[in-house]
């Protein structure tokens, strides 16, 4: 019956087999525990920050390379760091620092790992604790030096190129400045913008004057016939003054009418309107009033005649117009000549302006470029003098001889030898049982 109990029985029936394997395993394990420790493991730790330091303190132009190029600070960097370790570059550095140790031994016995605490662990194996700790610490220092050298290699190359380019940049700036001065001298300008503005204002004024002149000319041409017509329609002499005196008939009539009116009014107080006295007074009053109306109040005694001032003014105006017309052509010619001179000067201003702008832009760019290079050079020199060491380790992360781990551990050997020996023994027993069963099932 092939159930679990039969398998257990099969193992039990082969207990000698299991015991022999276990004996061999445990016995050898005890022997090895007497030989331990055969090696010591010392661990030094290095912290690699997630971000690398930057060197530039300000943004740079497109012509200037950016800050130092470092490996990406993430898990890939850690793999990259392990790759650097495996490349042997650090081992070679250690070999140079420790000439008494075989480089092959260093390569074989020092490895890098990343611990669960995210530190880079430098594992050094050696026959003694002191040697293991020394190897680990030497490797740790050498690794940090190597990383620093890697980090600095690009900035150093950049610095060299900056040192070479800095004088050239300033020289370029000087060249452009000189070019601008020469250009302005050749164009006969001191300050192009100001002079251009002035010329433009002047041109505008000339244009206004030309327009005013034209307007005046048109006005004169229109006004002269009118003045002429007005002048011809006016008399040469006109009465300029008359002397008048008082009319005596009128005066006496006036006195008489006043008397009659007063007498009439008094009589009407005593008499009726039909009384002959009243009628007589009324008729007389009306006759006096009629006489008054027939007489003028003043009578002309004498008059004065002189030249018509209006005609004189018309004449004067015509003369002015003639004078103005006489000077029109010459004035216009002068204004137009002035305008054309200004125009020709102004036409060349855009070209000058473009050239000057270009030269100014070149000067600005060259100055920025030179200033940036100077600033970066100073910056890089500052940082490289201090060193770009971005990895960290201190006395707490260094390997100590007394903390070196003895390998293999006696208790580990005993436990695993016993367990593994037992398992392998049982396996041998069940395999033996299987082979037996396979042989039993074979037909004969």
């Amino acid at each position: 019956m092939n159930d679990v109990s039969s398998i257990v029985f099969a193992i039990y029936s082969r207990r000698l087999m299991v015991m022999l394997v276990l004996l061999g395993s445990v016995g050898t394990g005890i022997f090895y525990t007497q030989q331990t420790p055969s090696e010591y493991l010392s661990v030094a730790k290095i912290l690699i920050p997630a971000t690398s330091p930057t060197v530039s303190l300000k943004t740079e132009g497109g012509n200037i390379p950016n800050g130092p190029i470092v490996p990406d600070q993430n898990e890939d960097l850690r793999v990259g760091v392990i790759g650097i370790i495996r490349s042997g570059a650090v081992h070679d550095r250690v070999a140079k620092a420790l000439p008494g140790i075989n480089p092959k031994t260093i390569r074989k016995n020092v490895i890098g790992d990343i611990g669960s605490d995210s530190f880079l662990h430098v594992l050094a194996y050696a026959k003694t604790q002191e040697e293991a700790a020394m190897l680990a610490n030497a490797f740790s220092e050498a690794f940090q030096d190597e990383m620093q050298a890697i980090l600095e290699s690009s900035p150093r190359r950049t610095l060299e190129s900056f040192i070479a380019r800095e004088p050239m940049a300033w020289q370029q700036f000087s060249q452009y400045s000189t070019e601008l001065v020469s250009y302005l001298e050749g164009a006969n300008f001191t300050d192009l913008e100001v002079e251009a503005v002035n010329m433009l204002a002047q041109r505008q004024a000339v244009q206004r004057q030309i327009e005013a002149l034209e307007l005046q000319h048109s006005s004169n041409l229109a006004q002269r016939p009118v003045y002429k017509q007005l002048f011809e329609s006016r008399p040469e002499f006109i009465v300029t003054g008359q002397l008048l005196s008082e009319n005596s008939v009128y005066k006496s009539s006036l006195e008489r009418s006043s008397k009659l009116a007063t007498e009439l009014a008094l009589k009407k107080l005593e008499l009726t309107d039909k009384h002959p006295e009243i009628v007589r007074l009324t008729n007389e009053l009306s006759m006096v009033q009629a006489r008054m109306s027939q007489q003028a109040e003043m009578t002309h005694s004498s008059s004065t005649m002189s030249q018509d001032p209006q005609a004189l003014s018309f004449m004067q105006r015509m003369v002015e117009i003639d004078i103005a017309e006489a000077s029109y052509d010459s004035q216009k010619a002068i204004f137009e000549k002035t305008a054309s001179q200004l125009d020709s000067k102004l036409q060349s201003v855009p070209a000058y302006r473009a050239d000057v702008s270009l030269i100014n832009a070149q000067i600005t760019q060259a100055r920025h470029h030179a200033e940036d290079i100077s600033a970066r050079r100073a910056e890089l020199e500052f940082h490289l003098t201090h060193g770009l060491r971005f990895t960290m380790s201190n006395e707490y992360t260094k390997a100590l001889p007394e903390k070196a781990l003895a390998l293999p551990t006696p208790i580990g050997i005993m436990i695993f030898s016993t367990l593994a020996g037992l398992i392998v023994g049982i396996l041998a027993a069940v395999v033996s049982e299987l082979v037996k069963q396979m042989r039993l099932r074979s037909p004969y």
């Binding site: 039969s6 445990v26 850690r78 293999p408 593994a420 396979m438």
Partner: protein
Amino acid sequence: MRELNHEPILTTDFNSKTSLWRGLALVLVGWLVAFFVKNDGIFSRRIQIDILGPNPAFVNDIPYFGSVLLIVVGLLLIFIVGLAIKSGSIDRVVLGMLALSLNADVIPMLFQLSVVGFSYILVDRGLRQRRIPFRLTPMVVFMGLMILSYAVSFLQNPEPLSLISNLLYRSTYLILVILLPALLVSRRHLDTLFDFMLVAAMLTVGVEIAQYILSAMSGSIITFSTSGYNSVVTPFGTIPRLTGLMYHPNHQSNILATQGIMALWFSLQPKGTLNRRRRMFLFAGYIILAFGTVITMSRSGWLSIAVATVLVPLIRFNKIAPWYFVTLVGLGLLAYTTGLGEASYKVIHDINGASADFRWHIDDIALEAFFTRPWFGVGTSNLLDFFNPYQLEVHDTYLQIASGMGLFGILVFGGYILTTIIRLINVVLNPASPAYRDWAIALLFGLMITAIQSFFAMFLWIKFLWGVFGIAESVIMNNSDKKTHQSANDFIFLPPQR
């Protein structure tokens, strides 16, 4: 008396000298174990760093890791040998190893060990029985032509020796087409193998879930695939593409979808042909494997299993097929008119949309390679260097054949596939028993899954595909084999229990 009764005689008595040597050998084994443990104690950490890298998840700097592994492997071997003893022979163990290896590319040498196991069984039984009832499949002709087609690549590669290792291990996959028909000579064999495969597939779904949990716990994606394929960007965030025990999520989806749909087909057999327990087992297998297909985030896997799942009831239940078909058409029209279909397509397309888009580009390169060298192609694996600056693999099995092996490859591989399909259809139409008909239809569904997915990924050299072909060949040959197996001696492999 023993000779008269013809009972087996085992050599169990050893003389003292032999016993001594035997004892010393056992002690030596013990010594070796302790020697291993001691060196493991010294070198374990270094070896872990070399093999696993500087900072592996969950397994980092474990002391005596090798010894722990030795104990675990030893226990596993004890378990496997115990199973072999319990079952009476190593047949089931070897079959189980094959079933697991078809579902687990990541376990090294498991497939090769199973092939060695089969070979041992054949040779051992054959020698003892003085005959090896080995049925050679006629498809061996196609096998030879395939090797020839592959070998043309040696003439086209500037470093032909680099192709040898590929050819060697891919050839072992082709062995399944010859080996399985010789071993799986009855329906019982086929059912046993399929049960083992289903259990192994469910195990890989468990591994998928474990991968998801570990990824969630650690914050980084933990699968067996490379970082280029282990995650997908969705509108809901980045989701890991789980691979189970395979190296690529598309391969995982393919094996799960194929076995899942076969399980579904078998579970829907008519009443009376299947007991309730087995029906539940098969249907649960389908559910679990379909879930496993979904969580691989493989769109080609989703498509193929969805299409196959829709088709299975249509073919299985003939009476309701028209109504079922009408319902499907109605649902499809509803999805189309409401815009749900288009919206769903857009969401799925946008999942790693760039991945979908770049495939058309690499397919263009593959077509160009085919038209440049139409007769024999540019050689397997040489498409990486054919105007292919990004070294992209062609994600289409058909184009992989065309570009790599040209018209000759198309004829050979296409001919093989077509012949297999035609022969399976012949089994459906002329079954020796309803069981073989069911098997043939199940295999046709399985091949349909791969046929659909082959438009989007490469499956030509996946051993699972050749395992399916081997099983198909077994079904075909069992169906056509008129011999009736009566006694245990008729079975060289996995004889019935006495």
